[in-house]
């Protein structure tokens, strides 16, 4: 039996080869398995010359906690050596007493609540300039943005978290 099968394959070896080669080629073409370990890296420049403008480093959407808050917080790096800053855009929150802009750790448990009970580990950026509209806040010269990776709108008087933006790299 075995020898008959072998001879059947043997007799048709050229037909089988002729069928197998296109089949293998089609399979290769469809799946391109070598691409699993071959990377193609590109590095195109930005579609505009922007070296003289501040560059966004991190950005995130503001989400309301104790009060409705929305908009975007973006951290910009200035090429000229001036201070880096946080810019709020499309921003609205509720007006309130002694409201500040802070940087905090996005994984801080205090930020999951509306009212902070413990001590919020944060970096002060200044009192909120307005409860609506685009605005900038300078960052202190040495602030660890890997650690303080969230922008918080915070009412100091009542320890209320108005809104939080978790920052993601731009």
């Amino acid at each position: 039996m075995n020898s008959i099968e072998r001879s059947w394959i043997w007799r048709r070896r050229w037909t089988l080869t002729a069928v197998a080669i296109p089949l293998l080629f089609a399979a290769w073409w469809a799946f391109r398995p070598e691409k699993l370990w071959v990377n193609k890296k590109v590095s195109e420049p930005a579609p505009f010359s922007s070296t003289s403008d501040p560059q966004p480093l991190y950005t995130g959407q503001l989400e309301g906690k104790a009060h409705q808050t929305s908009g975007r917080a973006t951290i910009y790096k200035t090429p000229g050596g001036e201070k880096d800053y946080v810019r709020l855009t499309s921003f609205t929150t509720s007006n309130g007493p002694d409201v500040h802009v802070l940087l905090a750790r996005s994984d801080d448990q205090n930020l999951t609540q509306e009212i902070v009970k413990g001590q919020l580990d944060s970096v002060e950026l200044g009192p909120l300039k307005g409860n609506a509209g685009d605005q900038n806040y300078d960052l202190p010269t040495s602030v660890d943005l890997q650690k303080y990776n969230a922008v918080v709108i915070y009412c100091e008087r009542f320890h209320a978290v108005f809104g939080v933006a978790k920052l993601e790299s731009f």
Binding site: L36, K41, S43, P47, F48, S52, R72
Partner: protein, 146 residues
């Protein structure tokens, strides 16, 4: 008298220098950032950021930064008329409308794609890295207003 002329000349030269500097500055093409979003995709490990810029002449450009996905056959960059897209979504089957932006230039690195004029960004809200051969979404970035 001669001193006055010298001062005047120096001032004129300075003004010229400043003027030419400003001219150079004005020649830089400025672009407005319209929308941005982060890529997600676990099956084909896609990460990075997609940002839509509008150039001065109104042209829209999609730029991918810190971008990484898995290499594959016939992978394209498309915009889809959806709020977001899950891994391996099949837009052919779901009949989701799309706008073709071109073949993926590389599976890693910063890259730009022109968006056809007249594309309605309020409708096409998600960038997808899409394998046309197997109709599978490798990764998606829902765009939000910047």
């Amino acid at each position: 008298m001669i001193r006055n002329i010298k001062i005047a000349l120096a001032l004129a030269a300075l003004a010229l220098a400043v003027g030419s500097l400003q001219k150079v500055h004005a020649q830089e093409t400025k672009a407005k950032t319209l929308e941005t979003g982060a890529f997600h995709g676990n099956v084909h490990k896609t990460s990075g950021r997609a940002t839509v810029y509008q150039e001065e002449d109104g042209k829209l450009v999609l730029r991918l930064t810190n971008f990484k996905t898995s290499n594959g056959p016939d992978v394209h960059v498309i915009l889809v008329a959806a709020k977001d897209a899950p891994d391996d979504a099949n837009f052919l089957k779901s009949g989701t409308e799309r706008v073709e932006l071109g073949s993926l230039k590389g599976n890693e690195g910063d890259q730009n794609y022109d968006i056809p004029r007249g594309t309605d960004l309020s409708k096409f809200q998600t960038v997808s890295i899409y394998c046309e051969r197997f109709n599978a979404n490798f990764g998606a970035a829902p765009l939000e207003k910047f």
